[in-house]
Amino acid sequence: MFQKLFHRLLQGIVVLIVLFTITFFLCRALPGGPFVSEKALPEHVKALMMERDGYNKPVYEQYFMRLGNLMRGDAGLSTRLSGRPVNDVIAQSFPVSFQLGCISMLLALVVGIPAGVIAAWKKNMSIDFIVMTLAMLGLCLPSFVVGPILAEMVGRRWKLLPAMGWEPTNVITWLLPMVTLGMVYAAYLARLTRSGMLDVLSQDFVRTARAKGVPMHRILIKHCLRGGLVPAAAYLGPAFAGIISGSLVIELVFQIPGLGRHFVKAIETNDVNVIMGIVLLYGGLVVLGNILSDFLILWLNPRARAQS
């Protein structure tokens, strides 16, 4: 178990270093160089800024300098926000994005998994058909279509819920973004849970249990749920990555003051330090999500444990 954890952590570090290398060279190749702004900067200011961020050093030195700085947790200064530390920017807007991601994930789990279990239980009955149709619709109605419609109808026309904004302590402002972001993943999880449960339900021990007269709900929950959840657990890592990047869109639609807005702006203005900071933060989160998902599978599936 510890060996496995160690192995996964090591792999995570490799992922982050590769990600760092890719972003480093992509940022160097960005059209227009690091200091583009609407007003032309005076030459001496530009020279000072080049000096400050180490752009006049050889590339390999810049590479290691940046890597070292990031490892120490110092992401440098933002050029677009006139020298505000990137750490500040992240500390201010990341909690909002993180909160949005977490509650959307929670919603996806709470809706998707029971829906999948019920659909598997009532296979080929009308409720299965309804759940699966809804799940298919959820997959095919992208969040950037559903988001504006919800904001407009529920928020502005019917005035049931606030159409934009985010208050960390006010649950009502969470609802629309949470539903929009979580829906797609709820749909995926429902499909995966259904197929996983169906696999387990077709096995011999289930038939034996039924022959013994164990009630169906007990078979589902006690005997099958654990094995049936494996495909869904395997999807959690990718889902986590998807929710993190999906929040970019949601933040734009609902005008949420999260990291997404900063990222899009930073890309448009070549704000290299902000780009690198956000990419690596997201990369770290995805790595963590994948490790968690792996361990969930180990916990759910004793056979996988025996192999490792």
Binding site: Q11, G12, V14, V15, V18, L19, I22, T23, L26, C27, A29, L30, P31, M136, L137, L139, C140, L141, P142, F144, V145, G147, P148, I149, E152, R156, A241, I244, S245, G246, L248, V249, L252, V253, F263, V264, I267, I275, I278, V279, Y282, G283, L285, V286, V287, N290
Partner: protein, 323 residues
């Protein structure tokens, strides 16, 4: 007494039979076929107006006899914009999928065929790439490639014009070529990063096929490795390749639309469904039609593709019994 001879059926014929029985997949196939046909054919017919022609009089109209789907805030005909946009969305999706499938199949095939240490290293690379925040890397990569488009379009223009062409002629070619070249960064960036699943599938297939006797036979006949891999092993993996390629397309379409929605994808005059949906979302309150029609066509296409992909997978699944 007559003897009934039951004809044997091939695996593929069986699968097609199962596919035909799957109503959702068949419906998806017809629906997708219709949309693709409309997007391909209609722009060449007089039914569609110029999608970029603006009109000061006919702004924000509801659907009617003159404009079947209404008009947007600049008085552009939504009906023709939907089909012109669809053409671009589908083109981007197909080209990107081709890029992704080519990389994925080659990579997975080599990894599976060579095996051992090479395989282990190549698959670790895939694992590492899997752990990345995709959307973000694609956005960055696309931005970097954008710089190259001017160079590429110049290159393409040179390809199609004679050395002594008049400036007007060169300009004509340039206006025809430029929108296409502007799309290139998008599909290269998305394609270069979405081959991972396909490569895993192909590797697993190649691993199982390369142990079969006919490969042994081919080897004993002295065929080269490339020939064995690409002429004998890969044709036996076509089923899964087609299935997972089909399942990749909707994801890629969604991806392109998300990028366009964020304003980081296609730039005008190219307007894909994603661009139209973004424009429509801004006008939602005054003019819901400009959001509804592109969204409906986009979602229908995704729905059909998903149904077809699911249907293909169920049909080719070896676990499903012969009935």
């Amino acid at each position: 007494m007559s003897l009934v001879i039951q004809k044997g059926t091939s695996l593929r014929a069986d699968a097609m039979q199962r596919l035909k029985k799957n109503r959702a997949a068949v419906l998806g196939l017809y629906c997708l076929g219709l949309i693709v046909l409309c997007c391909l054919v209609l722009p060449f017919t007089p039914i569609l107006k110029d999608p970029n022609a603006q009109s000061l009089v006919d702004q924000n109209l509801a659907p009617g006899a003159k404009y079947w789907f209404g008009t947007d805030n600049l008085g552009r005909d939504i009906f023709s914009r939907v089909f012109y946009g669809g053409r671009i969305s589908i083109a981007v999706a197909v080209l990107t999928t081709l890029v992704a499938a080519t990389i994925g199949v080659t990579y997975g095939a080599i990894s599976g065929y060579v095996g051992n240490k090479v395989d282990a290293v190549m698959m670790r690379v895939v694992d590492v790439l899997y752990g990345m925040p995709f959307l973000i890397v694609v956005i960055l990569f696309g931005r970097v490639l954008e710089k190259q488009t001017a160079k590429w379009s110049q290159w393409v223009v040179d390809l199609f014009t004679a050395a002594d062409a008049t400036p007007a002629k060169i300009n004509d070619v340039r206006t025809a070529v430029e929108p296409l070249v502007m799309m290139a960064p998008l599909f290269i960036a998305i394609g270069a990063l979405s081959w991972l699943t396909i490569s895993r599938i192909v590797r697993a297939q190649v691993l199982s096929v390369k142990k079969l006797e006919f490969v042994e036979a081919a080897r004993s006949l002295g065929l080269s490795h490339t020939k064995i891999l690409f002429r004998h092993i890969l044709p036996n993996c076509v089923g899964p390749i087609i299935i997972y390629t089909t399942l990749t397309i909707p994801g890629i379409m969604l991806f392109e639309a998300v990028l366009s929605f964020l304003g980081l994808g296609l730039k005008p005059p190219n307007s894909s469904w994603g661009v139209l949906i973004q424009g429509g979302a801004d006008l939602m309150l005054t003019n819901p039609w400009s959001l509804v029609f592109p969204s409906v066509f986009f979602s229908l296409t995704l729905l059909s593709l998903n149904f077809i992909g699911d249907g293909l997978r169920d049909a080719f699944d070896p676990k499903s019994s012969k009935d």
